[in-house]
Amino acid sequence: MKFRNYLIAVISAFFLAMPVSGFAQAILTVSTHSTSQSYSLDDILSMPQTTVTTNNHYVEGSTLFQGPSLRYVLEQTGIKEDAMLRMTALNDFSVDVPASDAFKYDVILAVHQNGEKMSVRDKGPIWVIYPMDDHPELSDSLYSDRLIWQLSSISVK
């Protein structure tokens, strides 16, 4: 009996430790009707980084965000400008966003806020950021609703 408990503990410890120590954990999935691509945080950090300094309803004053541009990420999977994207967050909340936004503006998948990684508690690990300070038309509440935090997947509708 005692041995069995010990065995269970060892096995579960192995499985629990696996995502941390072994394979890098996928935090973002981008899928089209035919393909699907997963990215770990390291994958995302190794992409060309874009910085955006902007204000929005959820931060105090002008804030520096950094991450790959959404355009770049979409291009990796061959998603075109006319697509409609469904962006889903960790809590299963989802919003539909036209892909043209990414081609018209420097929309980024921010992974750094003021130089630091974002935890889930602070809308991380990925927060979709629109450069609202650079384009006055983006301050419309329509775009505020597209600032999805805790982004976990992008799929073509």
Binding site: Y58, V59, E60, V120, K123, S144
Partner: protein
């Protein structure tokens, strides 16, 4: 009346300006109001609060399932972080300000955050490897006990936000309504102002049109006065000419008969006076008939090759009786020969006779009237120069108009019809030439005409 209209216009303009300023300020206010309504969607406090409630319930639910062994401790950790992120969203950025504006206390959220800090170690403890089923259930029960009551409190918070939002919406819609009323009032005002302006404009237009009609009528009457004078004289002249011709014919026959009988010089002189005045009367009548014919465009001209030297000589000869009567001499000055023009000889003679007889009338006895003929480029210029009293400056403008007469003063006995110069001008224009004059009062007057010459090669 005019100052009253100006006053009304000023008042209307002021009203217009006031309406425009009021309209602009209203639109500005409306703009601000509409902007303040904007928070919606994800930044709507109601939505954010309900999301907190939802995530808290999900956390509690997952904890229960974890106790039963259905969920992993990682998923509990993720739920906990997500619920925490909801607290952070209410506590940062624009939302705290929005809640403050709505007058809703977020104390419950602050308390929840403190509780979260307290249960954080316990949540982390759930992933410990050596937990027995009983220990797991006990840990979960502890956590749930600490979270107990928050669902009710957050529901109350949600209700408060909903009420506050409804109140502010009602307030906003009331103020929007008042603004829209103001706009409606403004619209009516502007419409009525425009209407008034239009009416004023139409009245002005009507007045201007009436004035124009009156002016036109006056102008018509003025121009028809001269016409009527000519018409009247034409009728009278026609009636006069026939008997006058008989009288003149009779006089000339009588004179010829008396000429053989030199005894009665007195009778001969009387007949002379009668026939001279008869001639003058006939000339007047002819003038009137000429003027009428010119007016109606009935005068025709017959251009033929004519030597201007001959024309001048013939005109001067015709005027010789005048020269004798007034004791005036004529001097012809013509250096150029062979001045040939394509023109109507009799008309040019008529004009020259008129100019020369005028010059004669305005000269004193013993003076000389000069008639000069010279070539000027492709034109011939004929000047009739007198050394009489001249034409007063203020009368020079009107000299060519019908029935105009310069008072000859000392020689008032010789009066014309006042049509001579007018007829001359029209005839010269018909012939394609020009007529003009210059005059210095007290020194004399020069009338001149210019007529196109035929090119030399045509000889």
């Amino acid at each position: 009346m005019i100052s009253f209209g100006k006053l009304i216009r000023g008042v209307l303009l002021t009203l217009f300006l006031a309406a425009a300023i009021f309209g602009m300020s209203t639109v500005h206010e409306l703009n601000g109001k509409v902007r303040s309504i904007q928070p919606s969607g994800q930044s709507d406090p109601l939505w954010v609060a309900s999301q907190l409630q939802f995530e808290l319930l999900r956390l509690q639910n997952d904890l229960g399932e974890f106790a039963l062994g259905y969920k992993t401790s990682e998923s509990i950790g993720l739920r906990f972080d997500i619920a925490w992120s909801r607290i952070n969203i209410i506590k940062t950025g624009k939302l705290p300000r929005t809640l403050k504006t709505l007058g809703v206390s977020d104390e419950v959220v602050t308390n929840l955050k403190e509780t979260f800090v307290e249960i954080e170690p316990a949540i982390a403890g759930l992933s410990a490897v050596s937990l027995s089923d009983e220990e797991r259930v006990r840990l979960v029960e502890n956590i749930l006990a600490q979270l107990d009551g928050y669902d009710q409190k957050i529901r109350a918070f949600l209700l408060n936000v909903a009420h506050a939002k409804t109140d502010s919406t009602v307030e906003a819609s009331a103020s929007l309504l008042s603004l829209s009323n103001a706009l409606r009032f403004l619209g009516v005002t502007i419409f009525s102002l425009i209407l008034t302006f239009t009416i004023l404009l139409l009245l002005d237009l009507r007045r201007a049109r009436n004035a124009e009609t009156a002016m036109r009528q006056l102008a018509k009457e003025a121009s028809s006065a001269a016409q009527m004078k000519i018409n009247f004289m034409t009728v009278v002249s026609h009636e006069l000419r026939t008997p006058l011709t008989s009288i003149l014919g009779g006089l000339s026959l009588l004179k010829r008969r008396l000429a053989g009988d030199a005894e009665d010089e007195m009778a001969l002189k009387l007949i002379d006076v009668a026939s001279r005045n008869g001639d003058r009367l006939l000339a007047l009548i002819n003038d009137v008939l000429d003027a009428q014919a010119l007016e109606e465009g009935k005068v025709t001209i017959n251009p033929e090759r004519a030597d201007l030297n001959e024309i001048v000589a013939s005109a001067v000869e015709s005027c010789q009786p005048y020269a004798e009567r007034f004791g005036v001499n004529y001097a012809i000055d013509s250096q150029d020969t062979g001045l040939i023009a394509l023109t109507d000889e009799s008309r040019v003679v008529q004009v020259l006779v008129n100019l020369i007889s005028n010059a004669t009338k305005f000269s004193s006895a013993g003076q000389t009237v000069e008639i000069r003929l010279k070539k000027r480029g492709q034109k011939a210029r004929i000047e009739v120069v007198d050394h009489g009293m001249g034409i007063p400056h203020e009368q020079q403008k009107a000299i060519f108009s019908s029935f105009y007469q310069v008072n000859p003063g000392t020689v008032s006995a010789i009066k014309g019809s006042g049509l001579g110069l007018n007829i001359s001008q029209r005839l010269i224009e018909l012939l394609g030439g020009t007529i003009g004059f210059h005059s210095v009062e007290g020194e004399g007057t020069t009338f001149w005409i210019e007529i196109d010459l035929l090119p030399d090669g045509d000889d």
